[in-house]
């Protein structure tokens, strides 16, 4: 046996060993031994109000989630000993964890995007009335850790994708890191348009809630009118390419949603052309006036309203008129003896003889 074969055998063993080590990453990350208790399926408690809390962490689900490389203690910072005291603090996504992005010396945190978010219409402002404060979504309202769904990939420009990286990373070196970027960053959002519409509709379709928090009048029927538009209909039918809520209402930072009066809003009068141009390259000042959330209202658009009535009348007139004439004609012809089938050369079976011109008349 040559040394060559020995080397090959050693190499195979090494590969198998490395695979085994990689497959147990979650347990390896669980340095604080949280899973000692939290691996049990039914771990939990019932609080004073009778509400059930479940504390189980499925290592296989967590190990495949986005935060698989983040140790428990990085986010749950209030826990310092085991067994721990009852947790009273919520997780703060702005906390720095011990993940270090490539080419930086800083620990990672969501602080940058949270700053953008806090400025947006959804961020809680000090002078908000309490019901509005309560209604506003926070990080975990939209983002749950297990975000497994893979967005369908489609090739888009490198520059466009890179813009998203720059939300969190420094430009330096990030281009080299690009090859490591997973499928999520090929599109503006990692969620499908259907999921985005569903997520936003969760609150915005609730007209009673929107009225309660004094949302602008225009936005009350935003979901309904969007679903009536070609964008909404295509999304409802599964399109992956048309505009969803985020496409128009946020920039590449995704969280910078503002009311349209705000100069920073993507749907502000001054920014609309830029926003539409993402898909409609030939956008001009007239184009942005086309209704994206189309309403058909008598007061707003009398011409369209009456055109609709005109077409309705034409429809019923044409259909009932034509079918009526056909039935009437069939009745008339049937009563003169026509049969349905053309058989043996004629549809007029069983009629009397041909009436020809009499001899006398022909001589005249």
């Amino acid at each position: 046996m040559s040394a060559n074969h020995l080397w090959k055998a050693f190499f195979c063993c090494a590969v198998v060993f490395i695979c085994l080590v990689i497959s147990s990453t979650v347990e390896a990350l669980d340095k604080e031994d949280c899973l000692v208790c939290h691996k049990y399926r039914f771990i939990g408690r019932i609080d004073e109000n009778g509400k059930r809390h479940y504390y189980n962490v499925d290592e296989h689900i967590y190990g495949n989630s986005l935060h698989k490389n983040v140790a428990c203690n990085d986010c749950h910072t209030s826990i310092s000993k085991l067994p721990h005291e009852p947790v009273t603090e919520d997780v703060n996504c702005a906390t720095e964890c011990h993940i270090r992005p490539p080419f930086t010396q800083q620990n990672f945190s969501h602080q940058k995007i949270i700053n953008i978010y806090n400025e947006s219409v959804h961020g809680i402002k000090p002078d908000d009335p309490p019901e509005l404060k309560q209604a506003k979504p926070y990080c975990k309202f939209c983002h749950l850790n297990p975000l497994y769904t893979k967005a369908e990939e489609s090739r888009i420009d490198f520059d466009v994708t890179l813009k998203r990286c720059l939300n969190c990373h420094q430009k330096k070196g990030v281009t080299q890191a690009y090859i490591h970027i997973n499928h999520r960053l090929r599109k503006k959002t990692s969620r499908s348009p259907q999921e985005i519409v569903k997520l936003c509709s969760k609150c915005h379709a609730d007209v009673a809630l929107m009225k309660k928090i004094h949302a602008p009048k225009d936005s009350l029927d935003a979901v309904e009118t969007y679903n009536r538009s070609i964008h909404g209909k295509s999304v409802a039918l599964g399109s992956q390419t048309v505009a969803d809520c985020i496409s128009c209402h946020a920039s590449n930072a995704l969280h910078d949603i503002y009311k349209k009066e705000n100069k920073k809003a993507t749907i502000n009068e001054d920014n609309l052309q830029q926003t539409c141009r993402q898909c409609h390259a030939q956008t001009n000042s007239w184009f942005v006036q086309i209704a994206v959330h189309p309403r058909v209202e008598k007061e707003h658009n009398p011409i369209v309203y009456f055109a609709g009535i005109f077409f309705r009348i034409m429809l019923y007139g044409a259909v009932f008129g034509m079918i009526g004439l056909m039935l009437f004609e069939t009745y008339g012809r049937r009563s003169r003896g026509i049969k349905f089938l053309l058989r043996n050369g004629t549809s007029w079976r069983g009629k009397s003889k041909i009436r020809t011109k009499s001899k006398k008349n022909q001589e005249d």
């Binding site: 039918l237 012809r333 053309l342």
Partner: protein
Amino acid sequence: MSNISQDAAVSVEAPAAEEDYFTYVEGVGAIPRDIYKYVESNPMGDLPRYSVHIVIQHLLVVATFLVLAATGLPVYFADQFWAPYVINVFGGADTARLVHRIAAFTMIFACAYHIVTIIGGTLRKIINREFDYKRTMIPRLKDLLDLYQDIKYFLRLTPYRPKMEKFMYKQKMHYYAIIWGNAVLITAGTALLFPSLMTHLFPDTLGQMISHTLETGGSFPSLFQDLARLMHADEAVMALIVVALWHWSNVHLVPGRFPLQWAFLTGKITREHQIEEHFLEYLNNLKEIPEEREYMKNLLDKSDSIKRE
């Protein structure tokens, strides 16, 4: 019983004057108006009606119309339970959109083909001095009178149907409905497909002038887009309903045509149909087709001799 009711019905009708009843054709004889009840007809058609070009155009329109309806309706009725199933037959919303556009361009091609055929054919006839506007789709006052006469016939107030040309009131109505429908669908569809191009086509000053007069309706391009959205869908649904409920039953299911009128494939019309609904065109056929002249002459001679016996 049936005899009595028939007799009663016949007595209501005015007796036909001999001059109206018989049409004398040189070299054939006096043709009675109800001769269509006694002629021999081939279900596949006896007399020429459509050229091969018209047959091809019709087939193109049938195919594209069905594809357009199948890819367009689910979008219009996107909130219905069946819409995703239908759209998935065409490979999902994004592919169906492409299929819809390809079908639309094919239909526009068929329209262009038709226009070329009609203009070319008309020019050829004018040069050969054969052109007769009565044998075309050009609407005339006579069409209205024919409709009036026909209604009287269906009400059993007159004994015979009016003598009509190659294209009767019904066909002219349908033809102009198609022209209107195509104009609306192509214009609106183009506006929907190229919304930004559409806004570039309206000069700023014109747009401003019109929006100023409208005041409430927003700018003119936006109003035009709103109208296009409305008209494209409404006109398409109307065309579909008219074709599905009226056109198909009118050509294939009514007495004498059931179960299928083959003219859309063979381009030929049956003899009894031609004489009943297009009598004046039949007279043209007699002039142009010697075999037909021979056939009608024999038929009349035979019945004449039977009568004399």
